[in-house]
């Protein structure tokens, strides 16, 4: 069943390239993906900490390379996120003026790549599936983008290519760091080797640094973040939704999946560096975000900034913080996708996203205003949204961690700054909302129409999911926490 989820978008992309009606096929495929994912979630056995729904094909016995897929609590959440955002992104795609089939095929390939990466237990395919999205992203921004699209397309592609090759070096080093007889690309086998202490502390340090830089570039960790705002501002809205909402989470997922079980010593060694960098994400990028004059750039920077919280949760290295990080990945994916979708609709109608030119749009587009407002509230982390639950868990986890280490520690400072980050994000989100939707309506925007009813479905889906898990975060925590229990302290 899991294979069906992975290959449904990919097969649909191939069928669309072969000439099937683009929008219909893509919609059917994405709805089908979401439906099967929900079935998977329903049949998911919570407290079990091993991978479920396993399938495996051996490809090279000498290299212990096999195509193995399965989900545990962590990857289940990510697959669910990918399925929801894919459907919303496909649904939100409006009229495409050229190469319509190729557009939908690229979208579905990104989605299939992300789902494949989240569901792969084999290191090689974990890496390869993520890279599958690289070329479609390049094409999406380059062909259908706006603004300075060519430069943005080059920048994101080359940046991500460097990041993923650094990551590849780290992964090869990880593979070689275990003794020859237990070498395997299977993450479970590597975990077993790491549990026996076969990965030396020295090797862990090198590997963790490589993984941190490689994944960090993919996640837009400060100071490797400069590709993200530009790319998201130029990308067509559905591409930005998928990339910022889902694909960027791959790096965080990778850190959670690999660094915590396999490289605990390395993670400990580089904790201070990571905390300093993530403060760069929260504070520096946060301030940069306030200074933005365009809605799309602001959203791009805000998505970079919020990665800082997830890093804080990962760095805290206790179950509470890490679980919070996972929930925030999910919640942020939904809220940023919603915001990019609305911004894309605004651009389609007004042709500009300069905040000073907009204003009063809430009068003519009440539904869009409501949706944007809800997205902004979610991004700030208002209670009731999943973001709130996640951030609370992260802050408690991080603060607690610092308390356990020393009297006054970097972690407490980081947490305090992180809380100020919430204020920063409230400032820019609310200001953007006020400038775009409140105030006097300029004469030239009088004739704008609101979102048509069809487009309200994905909005409802995204908001509904964020609210649902905002009120019942326990349903996630129950399946996520067991995945980390063997490796981390409880943090209670």
């Amino acid at each position: 069943m899991l294979l069906l989820v992975i290959f449904c978008p990919i097969v649909a992309a191939i069928v669309i390239m072969a000439g099937a009606p683009a929008r219909k096929t893509a919609l059917v495929a994405s709805v089908l993906t979401l439906a099967i994912t929900l079935l998977l979630l329903a049949s998911f056995q919570g407290p079990q900490r091993d991978f479920q729904h396993l399938t495996s094909f051996s490809l090279s016995p000498e290299w212990h390379l096999s195509f193995t897929t399965g989900v545990d609590g962590l990857s289940m959440v990510m697959v669910l996120l990918a399925a929801i955002v894919t459907m919303a992104a496909v649904w939100f795609t409006g009229e495409i003026d050229r190469h319509e089939n190729a557009f939908y095929a690229c979208l579905l390939l990104i989605s299939g790549g992300a789902i494949g990466a989240f569901a792969s237990i084999d290191l090689f395919f974990f890496y390869a599936f993520h890279e599958l999205a690289l070329i479609p992203t390049f094409l999406l921004i380059g062909i259908w983008g706006s603004g300075n699209r060519t430069a943005a397309a080059w920048k994101i592609t080359i940046y991500l290519a460097i990041g993923s090759f650094i990551l590849l070096i780290g992964l090869i080093l990880l593979y070689q760091s275990v003794p020859v007889e237990s070498r395997s690309f299977d993450i479970r086998a590597l975990k077993a080797a790491a549990a026996l202490g076969q990965v030396s502390a020295d090797a862990q340090r090198h590997i963790y640094l490589l993984l941190l830089i490689g994944f960090g570039i993919l996640i837009s960790l400060f100071p490797f973040h400069t590709w993200a705002p530009e790319a998201y501002a130029s990308a067509p809205a559905p591409a930005a939704m998928l990339h910022a909402g889902v694909l960027k989470k791959f790096g965080l997922y990778g850190l959670l999946r690999l660094a915590i079980p396999l490289l605990p010593d390395g993670a400990r060694h580089w904790t201070n560096l990571l905390v300093v960098l993530l403060l760069g994400n929260i504070i520096y990028v946060g301030l940069v975000t306030i200074a933005q004059k365009r809605l799309d750039w602001m959203l791009g920077y805000s998505s970079v900034m919020h990665m800082g919280y997830v890093f804080l949760g990962i760095a805290s290295a206790n179950i509470l913080g890490v679980t919070g990080a996972t929930v925030l990945m999910f919640a942020h994916g939904l809220s940023i996708a919603l915001l990019f979708a609305i911004a894309g609709e605004l651009r389609r109608r007004t042709g500009t996203l300069v905040l000073d030119d907009l204003g009063g749009l809430g009068k003519v587009m009440p539904f869009a205003g409501l949706a944007f407002g809800l997205g902004a509230f979610a991004a700030i982390g208002l209670p009731g949204f999943a973001n709130f639950a996640a951030e609370v868990m992260i802050f408690f986890g991080a603060f607690k961690n610092g308390w356990e280490m020393e009297r006054f520690h970097l972690f407490q400072i980081a947490t305090v700054f992180g809380l100020w980050g919430v204020v920063i994000s409230a400032v820019y989100m609310l200001r953007a909302y006020r400038k775009a939707f409140m105030g006097t309506l300029a004469a030239r925007w009088k004739d704008l129409v609101d979102l048509r009813p069809g487009l309200r479905v994905p909005v409802t889906l995204l908001v509904g999911a964020a609210l649902c898990y905002g009120f019942f975060p326990q349903s996630f925590v129950r399946i996520i926490a067991p995945a980390f229990r063997p490796y981390l302290s409880a943090g209670r």
């Binding site: 490809l59 090279s60 890279e131 094409l139 090869i172």
Partner: protein
């Protein structure tokens, strides 16, 4: 039972028969000769699968003291045959250009020679794969090079081609001189020309290692010319651009692969000398940097592919410097598939518009199939997963990391990023530039079949590399064994 030498004899007979037909059957359609050549080579290819490899020994005498039929050589005979078949298919597509640019009255006879020469080159490549004696290496190398002299300058009414021919002739002759001189030094120091026996002699303490090493460096110069390693790469861009496109493809795949096979063989006796590895690492780094940086600003696709072939020589040299024969062979296979695919598209498109990158503008509209084929080739050359090019780089980097060659890894990663830029430049031209002309590009069924097969092979081997891993497994073990004795 078929034995290995019969394969080359078969190819040579095929070449001679085609030449005879070309000379005496004046009335026939010369394209038939190309089809006959393809069929004949395919038959030999099938036969090569039935040859049982036998490892060479230093006790062999007579013919077998300079000819080996080990699995590496059989594998590369197949490699040479596939390359030649694909080049012949490209040549059929290229024939109209040839007909218009050759000055002689009798176009038909030129065409026949054009189809016959690659078959002799193929025989040379196959002999080279089996050569384990310096004299035999020299003879087979010359068989390849001399037929290339003719092929490179085939459309000689074109000044650029003529320039390419002269450059190739002069520099190639120079490198041959270096080769002979190097062989002389090695023979003087060891008293042997057989590689296996040289290994034995070098191991004893009373051999003049310095002299042998000097000879080896001279041999490296000659081979560096063949594989286009820095600083012996100057000829590459001009010759690649000037030569007829199918010949360029042949040169960049066949000639390079043969160079690397010989390199792997002749280096084996010298592996125990640490100076050798340092030298190779240096050459690899220079080649990587030069090839990739020079490719960045290119606006001509043929020249771009020339620099990219230098860049790929750099990646291959990483594998050589790390003594991982398996990784080198896998990369060569990957390189064969993706380079020939890109040249196959180039041959067809350049006849319509030209061979600059801007001539590919809007190809996605004019011919979606050709654009897709080029996309796959470029993406694989850049090294995106699920293509064979990525696995090639993966094995190369794997070898470099296992040997802790930090400099090679760092330079490799940076140059890979450069590669993404210049290969995707072609993709950009095809997909989001608008076309100057919107005429459709016709494509023969044979070329379409060959390209589809290449695309399938690139993606298929990118996901399931086991067939090739299996084929070079014995070599892998042996090279690993040799390198462990070194350390």
């Amino acid at each position: 039972m078929i034995t290995a030498p019969e394969l080359e004899i078969g190819v040579l007979i095929l070449g001679i028969v085609i030449l005879m037909f070309e000379a005496f059957a004046a009335k026939m359609d010369k394209h038939l000769l190309a089809f006959a050549g393809i069929l004949g080579l395919a038959a030999v290819l099938v036969a090569s699968f039935f040859v049982v490899p036998s490892p060479s020994s230093d006790q062999a005498t007579g013919f077998w003291s300079f000819y080996t039929a080990d699995s590496l050589s059989i594998f590369f005979k197949g490699f040479a045959l596939i390359t030649t078949i694909l080049v012949l298919i490209m040549m059929i597509d290229y024939a109209p250009v040839l007909a218009s640019s050759v000055a002689t009255r009798n176009v038909g006879s030129t065409l026949g020679e054009f189809f016959a020469l690659p078959i002799f080159t193929c025989a040379g490549l196959m002999y080279m794969a089996s050569a384990i004696d310096f004299i035999f290496i020299f003879v087979s190398l010359e068989l390849v090079t001399i037929s290339f002299y003719v092929l490179v300058s085939f459309t000689r009414s074109n000044p650029a081609t003529l320039e390419a021919g002269v450059k190739y002739l002069v520099l190639s002759a120079l490198s041959t001189a270096f080769l002979v001189y190097g062989i002389t030094w090695i023979f003087g120091a060891t008293g042997q020309t057989n590689l296996e026996r040289i290994t034995v002699v070098l191991a004893s303490s009373d051999t003049d290692r310095e002299a042998a090493l000097f000879g080896m460096v001279l041999v490296l110069v000659a081979l560096g010319f063949k594989i286009a390693a820095v600083p012996f790469q100057i000829w590459v861009p001009d010759v690649y651009q000037g030569a007829p496109t199918p010949v360029t493809a042949y040169l960049s795949v066949g000639s390079k692969a043969a160079g690397f096979v010989v390199l792997l063989r002749v280096l084996r006796p010298f592996l125990m000398l640490p100076e050798m590895q340092r030298l190779l690492v240096l050459i690899a780094i220079l080649t990587l940097i030069y090839g990739n940086l020079a490719a960045l600003p290119q606006g001509n696709l043929k020249r771009l592919l020339a620099y990219s072939s230098i860049a790929h020589a750099g990646y291959l040299l990483i594998g050589v410097a790390c003594f991982d024969g398996g990784a080198v062979i896998f990369y060569l296979v990957a390189y064969l598939l993706m380079t020939l695919l890109s040249f196959a598209v180039l041959v067809i498109v350049s006849q319509r518009t030209g061979d600059r990158i801007s001539d590919f503008d809007g190809l996605a509209k004019r011919s979606p199939f050709l654009a897709f084929a080029m996309l796959i080739a470029m993406v694989s050359l850049a090294g995106v997963p699920f293509t064979v090019g990525f696995l090639g780089k993966f094995f190369i980097f794997y070898a470099a990391i296992a040997q802790r060659q930090l400099a090679l890894v760092v330079v490799g990663v940076i140059t890979v990023a450069c590669g993404f830029y210049y290969y995707l430049k072609v993709v950009r031209a095809m997909y989001w530039q608008s076309a100057a002309t919107i005429d459709k590009i016709p494509l023969s069924a044979l070329s379409r079949f060959a390209m589809s097969a290449l695309i399938l092979a690139i993606i298929g081997l990118g996901i399931y590399p086991q067939p090739i891993l299996k084929a070079f497994e014995p070599t892998r073990g042996r090279v690993a064994a040799t390198s462990t004795t070194v350390r």
